[in-house]
Symmetry: C2
Subunit: 247 residues, 2 copies
């Protein structure tokens, strides 16, 4: 039976980390909310689960995955569950624990990126929190971005099985998520990310290697890949990007 | 060999979710950074791992656990790993996946609580971001707190194995973390949390049931339980609490 991914239609958002894994593996899946309404799609499809009066394993928010009757919530939870099934997890509990830790660190980074444009409330429009967004984004770019990128670069560089992938000697879902993070940061902060390949060359190489995977390249060129836009996690607001003079 | 927990000394913080599991299980563990410096404790103990020039599985930040040579990072990752070993995880992949999803949702809530007092930058003092903290905390209390509490109440109430615990019919690490969240929210926001037991009675009952567990009660009364303070996640800043008139 096909996996069912439930995520807000119209944006990459957190759902994209799951899509990349499903696409790389060539898995049979349905992106439920992107189906036409006549076929049960749209936001109503999400609400049917989130507001279900009977479902015991309610998710808190999209994305969530349905595998038959089982609901798997949270990006890191979904990828931990899918990883071995899609051939995208390393072998053995120690390596899977390391992969999970890295994915949870990516989740933290993603939440911080989101809050660069929504530092006060998710319920407010960006324009209504721009005043706080500017110092938040500036602190993110000055302090947090280099800390996260430097960390992933270090872990990659030290991988005892080689620096091609971040855990073990083969591609895992964590590499796909790192690709997405770099892609998103480059979209959102082109000035701040200009020195990326020079500062973090091993991570930049990984980004390129993921982009060149045949299934990923095909996916990125397809209309299944929603373009980045200003409703997702990674938004291009030039006033939040790094100082052009410093780029 | 004893588990080694690594976390900033002097605060409960995210380390407390791990401590509660270790304490409930009566596990043999060392809270490494709380050892005297002469015994290898203090922040230097954390830095030795975080700044290690050789360790391949570097954690991004505390807390992390060492089990022999294996480093397990991130609260949800640590609890997923420890759960079965401590007898605090449910049986079977489906229930463990549900527990992991709930724990990841707790992690999201904890990050949001942290940002009520640090909406701009972790590197700035609270006093330097108080202006943004007020609207962030107000939005958290008005929108997010009821959403999270209502969600956990709903999942608890619907547990097919009974509403005593949130997954299956026995205590798991998720219940311990829910206790800590409620305890922390009551400390930080006493006015906003005043109606807690009336609005979310099943969750309130779970909180009381965890507090009454013999090992937990002993731990809470011991000096191993660091009191809440204004360096942790849950901070009591009266100006961020709910409106006294509404309490």
């Amino acid at each position: 039976m096909a996996y069912e991914l439930y995520y807000w239609p119209g944006l990459q958002g957190r759902g994209e980390f799951v899509r990349l894994a499903l696409e790389e593996a060539g898995a049979d899946y349905v992106d439920v909310a992107r189906l036409p309404k006549s076929e049960g799609g749209g936001v109503a499809a999400l609400r049917r689960v989130l507001d279900s009066p009977a479902e015991p394993h309610l998710p808190f928010a999209p994305p969530f995955l349905k595998d038959g009757d089982l609901i798997v919530p949270q990006v890191a939870g979904i990828l931990y569950y899918l990883g071995p099934r899609l051939g995208l997890a390393p072998q053995g509990e120690a390596a899977r624990t390391a992969a999970n830790g890295l994915q949870l660190t990516i989740a933290d980074l993603v939440a911080e990126v989101h809050d660069t444009h929504h530092p006060i409330a998710a319920s407010l429009a960006y324009e209504d929190q721009k005043g706080a967004a500017k110092p938040r984004a500036a602190a993110f770019l000055a302090e947090r971005l280099p800390k996260f990128m430097g960390y992933f670069e270090r872990v990659l560089t030290r991988n005892p099985r080689g620096a091609a992938w971040i855990v073990g000697d083969g591609l895992t879902y964590v590499d796909l998520s790192l690709f997405q993070v770099v892609e998103g940061l480059r979209y959102a902060f082109p000035r701040a990310m200009a020195p990326f390949s020079d500062r973090w060359p091993v991570l930049a190489r990984l980004h390129g290697a993921v982009a060149a995977r045949p299934n990923i390249a095909r996916y990125l060129a397809s209309d299944r890949r929603i373009p980045f836009n200003e409703t997702g996690i990674f938004r291009r607001y030039p006033e939040l990007d790094g100082d052009a003079r410093a780029a």
